[in-house]
Every structure is written in C-alpha cells, then in structure tokens.
C-alpha cells in the first residue's frame, strides 16, 4: 500500500527540524567543521546545518544507538556491589538517513533480536524517530546490487527532493507527528514524477555493481577454493579494521572494566570491535583461531555474504561503500567480490 504523502517546501524541511529541535535533539548529517566537504552524523545545532545532499558519512548512523564506546553499567566495590544500569532514555530524531543505512539499522535489529535477544539496542531504537532521505550515488555506492536502493524499512518518514521541496512519505504516526504545524501540500502529479525521476537517476548513475546475486555469492563462497584471492587481498591489507568500524551492518563488540581514580567504583564499557584485528579471536594460551591475515579477510566476506545470509536470510552488506572508501589500502568490496565471482565463473577447482 502506498504510504500517505505530503510535499514540504525547502523551508518547510527546516521548519520541521526546528520544531523537532524544540523538544528533543536531532541527529543528522552535517558538514564537518574540521574539513568542509565531508560529513558526519552529529547533533544538529541549527536547522540550516542539515546537509540534505550529502553523499556519505565516515561512520554510519548506527552510532546513535550503539556508541563506538559506551558504558553498560557502573559498579561499586561494596559487598554486595551496587550495579547501576547506564542507558539512554532521551527521545531523539535521527534525520537524513539514506535507504542503505536504513537497511543497516534493520540488519542490526535482526541480529540483536536473535534469542537470547539483547535489550540495549532495541530499547535505544525505540527512542528514535527516523527520517530517511533519498540520495545520489558516488563511485563507491553499489546499493542496487543489494536491493537496498529503495528501502524504506525502519523509517518513520522518508523524504525525496522534488522541484518545489521534498516529497514526504509517512510510514508511522511518529513520522506524521513531525509534520504537524508544518506547512505542507498535497502531492501533485509533478511531485510524484520528480521523485520517480530522482530514483531513476539514482540507479542510472550507479557505476559499481556486484556481478552476481547475493545468493550466488553465498554459494560461491561456500564452495571455497578461493584462498589465493584471500591471500592476494591480505598482501595489502593492514588489518586495521576500518572496513568493519565504518560498516552499518557490522555489530561485533568488546567489553572491559575500568576503575575510577578512587579505585572503589568503576564502569563496564563496551566498544566496537573488528574481526580484522589480530587479537579478535585470541584465547588463553595465546591460541589464535584466525592468526593469519587471509583467514581474517575470508572471514569478513564469509560473514557478510554467507554465514549471516544463511542464518538470518539477508546479506550483512547494504552496498553503502563505506568500507571501500575507508580502506587506505584500496581494498574494494565490489572489486574483490567480483574477482571471486569471476573466478567461480572460470570453473574453479575446490581446495
């Protein structure tokens, strides 16, 4: 069923944000103060700072729900110890999320809700009203290969730029609430065709594509015989983990305890982690289950396109291209995947 739609003027968008900012924080893409031309998700100070036309951000918006480093609870060393949960309770608006990143949020919803489900992530998710916005790709985007280009899952309101402003698709009442007291029009035929045109251009401009469907990629990975490719990739991989830490669909973490200066209290923290790092699978006795770099590289591809695909029914890649942009060694998700596909096409032998 088609969602309810309105049209906002360009100023109307700012009105909407301004109204939202009156009673809760708005997190949205803004231009980096330290480097113009680059964007990140940050608390919006002025509605005009909302960057409607950004292409990508270094970190995906998942950090609004699961901060790169966050406190799980505090403790005291009394007997018995006092534990105090630390979790967000403030409602907020997450605005300006692209379809691929909406899919990233959905990926984490799914992963964290597998029994035994974690409570932290969904409880933070409930605090947010999510406003999506449509985008145009750069050379790294390949969302059309993952089917996330037109994703609307997980958003309350979705905006597409049209001639006289934004076409707003309303998915929930929370989304509709954002538009109360904002001037809006009924969408005209032209608005709808503008939006359609936008989506067409988005696909036309997409230059990067995976050469196979996700299901086929999973089969190829499962069949194996690719270690020479993993080793070639590993030759230039630093194991720096940037591909994971920038990925909207990655969700691994580490936890550790920290005392405060009195040594009488402390906190347990958790931080994002990455399976590309040397010690990710290290256990007592210094046994390391993925000691070799190529094993870690393989693990990343397998996890994205095979393991979680089989287990949860979707690829753990959204096609956002962040990992390729972030990789200083220029290891590119699309290139490497296509090498694998090409290799399989040549009738690879199994190892």
């Amino acid at each position: 069923m088609a969602p309810l739609m309105h049209v906002l003027s360009f100023d109307g968008l700012y009105d909407m944000l301004r109204k939202a900012m009156e009673d809760r924080p708005v997190i949205s893409p803004t231009e980096r103060k330290d480097q113009p031309g680059f964007y990140h998700f940050a608390k919006l100070e002025r509605a005009e700072d909302f960057a409607a036309d950004y292409v990508t951000t270094t970190l995906p918006p998942k950090n609004s729900f699961f901060q790169p480093s966050e406190t799980l609870f505090t403790f005291t060393l009394e007997q018995p110890p006092q534990l105090q949960l630390v979790s967000d309770t403030e409602h907020f608006v997450l605005a300006g999320v692209h379809p691929c990143d909406l899919s990233g949020l959905e990926a984490l919803d799914l992963a964290y809700s597998q029994p035994p489900a974690e409570v932290r992530w969904p409880s933070d998710r409930k605090l947010a009203t999510v406003v999506g916005i449509d985008c145009k790709p750069d050379d790294y985007c390949f969302c059309s290969s993952l089917g996330t280009s037109f994703n609307r899952e997980g958003c309350d309101l979705f905006l597409t730029k049209v001639g006289r402003g934004y076409l707003a698709e309303v998915y929930t009442s929370a989304g509709e609430d954002l538009l109360t007291k904002v001037r809006k029009w009924e969408p005209a035929e032209e608005d709808l065709s503008d939006a359609e045109q936008w989506r067409r251009e988005k696909i036309e401009r997409m230059s990067a594509h995976l050469d196979a469907e996700v299901g086929e990629i999973a089969d190829i990975l499962e069949a194996g015989g690719l270690s020479h490719i993993w080793k070639a990739v590993a030759e230039r991989c630093y194991s720096c983990g940037s591909c994971n830490t920038t990925c909207p669909a990655c969700f691994c973490f580490n936890t550790y305890d920290e005392f405060d200066l009195s040594l009488k209290h402390g906190v347990r923290r958790r931080t994002w982690d990455s399976c590309q790092l040397l010690e990710f699978a290290l256990v007592a006795g210094r046994h390391n289950f993925r000691q070799e770099r190529w094993q870690r590289v393989r693990h990343r591809w397998h996890r994205k396109f095979l393991y979680l695909y089989r287990r949860l029914g979707r690829a753990y890649c959204t096609g956002c291209g962040r990992c390729s942009r972030a990789c200083t060694a220029d290891i590119n998700m699309v290139d490497v995947t296509n090498r694998i596909v090409a290799h399989a096409g040549k009738g690879a032998e199994h190892d």
Partner: protein, 271 residues
C-alpha cells in the same frame, strides 16, 4: 585487592627529553588523587632526596651508555614493579635512529678528538635490557594510558598494550582520515592507545607508539608506491608526497629503529 600499605614510587630518567615526566605533572589534580594511593620517594625532576628502596619504579628514556645498563639493572633488582614511560623507554624512539652510524664517528662529529663520553653504545629501549612489568608508550606518553596503567598497577591487573592500529581510534572517534586531506599517515601500522591525538588535530600519525605486532609493512610500501592507482583521494596524496621506498623506510625508522627496521618483515598474510 590493592597493594598495601602504600607502595613507594620512584621516577627515574635516562636519555630522553623528559617530556614524559612533564606530561605526568600535567595531570595536576588527577595526579594528586593518584598520589593518594602511593608515596613518592624519588623524583629527581621534582624533588630533592632519594630513597634506596621503592616498590614501583617509573623509568623514562633510552639506554645509551654502558653505565645506563648498570643503573637500570640495579633499578630492576630494587623495584618490585618496573614501568617504562614513553617510547624512548619502550621502543627506543628516535634515539635509536643514530644506531646506523658507529658511536666513534658520532662522538668525533660532536666533540672532536676530546673524549667527553666514552661508553656510548647503540641506543636501545629499557625493554631491550631488562624485563618490564608495565609499559606506557607515546612521545610523549598518553596521559590516558598512564592513568590506566597506574590503576592497573594499584589493582594488580596486567596491562596489555593495545595491539590495534591507530585507525581503530580514528574511527571510534569519528575523525576524518587524513589521507582524505592528502597526507601520509602511519596510523595503519602504528599501535594505538593515544586516542588518535595527532589525527584528531588534523596531523598525520608519525608512528610514535611503534609498530603493532604483525604490522603489514609490505602493504605500506606497496600502497604508498602505487598511490596514483588507488582511490581518487590518493591523487592528492600522490601529488604532495611521492615517496620512494627508501623515504618510506626512513619515515618508518623515525620511531622504529630498534631493532633495525627491515621492510621485508611483517609478513604479508601473517604467517
């Protein structure tokens, strides 16, 4: 589970700029809180008086002379817990860059024929001379790490140096990668723990905390050599700084000269 009664703490320095001690002093009030848990008995830079017995010794600087070797061995024997402060003490830092020249030649350069110092040896970190219990790295030390290590000592926790590259901290802090600005960064092979202080200020990482285990130096050479073939962003890097293999080696050697840096090391896929 704290050590009791109050452990006695001593600070010592070897060849270095003493910036690490100075950085400790920058803790101000936090330092006073930490010092609540201990008694400082020797700290030449700060106080007169010296004690022959101490439980925890903080040592900064590199070992550059025969007599330093004796001194650090003595400190090792006396102290229950030996902590190195800074990269000079932990990895040799730039002190070790001079090791590629023979000591006599260096001395001749500086003092001519007059022998002022005679017992110069190749500069090395304290960690290369005696076993150490804790390390705080950085040039100068990361204060955050110092406080963390201090708390670990007082609570009897082992401290593992982080074995991840600086990139992790850049990302967790949502800093823009400086390659995007056309700078060459040693972050991908350098041990984090500094909370990416340099890149947070828009500078590149110069590698002051030394290489991570299993750093992929081959990748670094390859990547910096074929820059123009890489991302569009690398164009700018390439224009600013085309580096030869030798220049890459020198750049890496600034902090990684002990033991002598070999680019072939850091096997490609981690065997």
């Amino acid at each position: 589970m704290t050590i009791s009664p109050k452990p006695k703490v001593a600070f010592f320095d070897f060849a270095c700029c003493e910036g690490c001690q100075l950085t400790v002093l920058q803790l101000d009030e936090t330092l006073l809180e930490l010092l609540d848990h201990v008694d400082v008995v020797t700290w030449r830079e700060v106080m007169t008086g010296e004690s022959e017995s101490y439980d925890i010794a903080f040592c900064e600087g590199s070992i550059t002379r025969e007599r330093d070797v004796e001194r650090i061995k003595h400190i090792r024997e006396t102290a229950g817990i030996l902590v190195t402060l800074g990269s000079c003490a932990g990895i040799g830092c730039h002190n070790a860059v001079r090791n590629i020249w023979p000591s006599e030649e260096l001395l001749e350069d500086v003092y001519g024929s007059r022998t002022v110092v005679s017992d110069i040896i190749p500069a090395r970190p304290i960690t290369a001379v005696v076993p150490v219990d804790y390390q705080v790295l950085g040039c100068p030390i990361s204060l955050f790490e110092f406080v963390t290590v201090f708390k670990h000592i007082l609570t009897g926790k082992k401290y593992y140096l982080p074995n991840q590259p600086v990139c992790v901290e850049c990302k967790l802090n949502d800093y823009l990668c400086v390659y995007e600005k056309g700078m060459i960064c040693l972050g991908p092979v350098t041990r984090c723990g500094c909370n990416a202080i340099c890149t947070s200020l828009g500078d590149a990482c110069h590698g002051c905390r030394g290489l991570i285990d299993n750093a992929n130096l081959n990748a670094m050479v390859k990547v910096l050599e074929d820059m123009p073939k890489l991302h569009p962003i690398m164009d700018r890097v390439a224009r600013n700084h085309r580096l030869t293999r030798e220049q890459i080696r020198r750049k890496l050697a600034v902090y990684n000269s002990w033991p002598e840096l070999k680019l072939e090391e850091g096997a490609a896929h981690g065997e």
